[in-house]
Symmetry: C2
Subunit: 249 residues, 2 copies
Amino acid sequence: MIFRQLFEPLSSTYTYLLGCEHTGHALLIDPVVNSIDRDLGEIQRLGLTLAVTLDTHIHADHITGARHLKERTGCRIAVPAIDALPCTDLGVTEGVPLRVGSVVIEALHTPGHTSGHHAYVCGERLFTGDALLIDGCGRTDFQGGSAADLYRSVTTKLFTLPDEQLVYPGHDYQGRRVSSVGQEKARNPRLGGGKAQAEFEQIMAALNLPYPKFIDHAVPGNRQCGVCPTDLPEQMQAYCGRMTESVQG
Amino acid sequence: MIFRQLFEPLSSTYTYLLGCEHTGHALLIDPVVNSIDRDLGEIQRLGLTLAVTLDTHIHADHITGARHLKERTGCRIAVPAIDALPCTDLGVTEGVPLRVGSVVIEALHTPGHTSGHHAYVCGERLFTGDALLIDGCGRTDFQGGSAADLYRSVTTKLFTLPDEQLVYPGHDYQGRRVSSVGQEKARNPRLGGGKAQAEFEQIMAALNLPYPKFIDHAVPGNRQCGVCPTDLPEQMQAYCGRMTESVQG
């Protein structure tokens, strides 16, 4: 499998490019609207064709590149089926593999950061979106978020994967790029070291995070698969997707 | 490929188990003498046979498990050919792949921590030994060590690998397990961020590390492929290999 980890610095988002060497088809996990030229350039350099975009959840901090990538390439848009977005072509569901050539994605429903959030397993790699970050996790106070749900998602679905399973997060704000299930189980300060659910819930409740600055723009735009808000201040219009707020608080 | 990352807590050493699914042959990178029962148990559970042990360098902080593993299993002992240890069966050299079934190891001569140190590339993984640690590197003041050599080794041989190449270090003292070339290039505080050689040499010179407590026991023992010293205090004899000193200082 061809693999690239691409970083979008304005929102500190990782976009993952997975390509099948046999069919030349590629999939992008969590593309960001203001990086689609970079993403398409990379796909072209690798001699691939974009077949599918796949989001882990409805983002609140940046605008997905899905809609614009579809307009540019004719690719299909996949999102968790549970989010029931009319703008998508494919709904992914736990238990039903998504195949792009020889690349096989197993979806895991991991509610907690949002109610519809899914993580994706592809061979030795786990794409955790905002459910599990390196030494952290996404906040749980909006979009049907729930610390209890996130605890169950991480401890029963992600931490039960092999220790060597590679953790590729949806964001990192300190330049870290990869971890493993064993590492997060051992030392994630919110969820690792065998923490009990009550302790995790206390940690999340005590964060006292401010209201997310962009959520009222980003969520409606992302529910349309990536429409840039028209009611943003002008300087933000130039950088649709320039939403630099941390998802983990 | 079958892959396991095994942690030896007394010296914070990672031992890596690589197994060929077709032949059932396994290779251990940097086994530790006091963990050989654990290693052999894992190999047996996986239905594998130990074919080769492979050290990255002559360790100063723990005793290699190579000799005892050979006595127990009949495996072959591989080390960098440049170290010219009479007790070994195979000398590895940059440019000559080592094959264990379908597992192919490419050796890279990476002097600096020791003069004979080698890192090993196996597919998407890079086993860096003590040349490059997560957010750190091995000390350079003994065994033919040289900060100038280490700088050249890391910047010309390791940092020129793809950003996605996974970095599996020889040690970690904080429970981190995996990184990537891109991550270390960007944020390794000693070698990342485009640091110049002079700056790295200053950092290493300013560490002012104490004389390694075990080097006078470990190096002679490891030059015999893992003989436990007989002149250690009795409580250490019980834990041959119980040498908990940090290699990075």
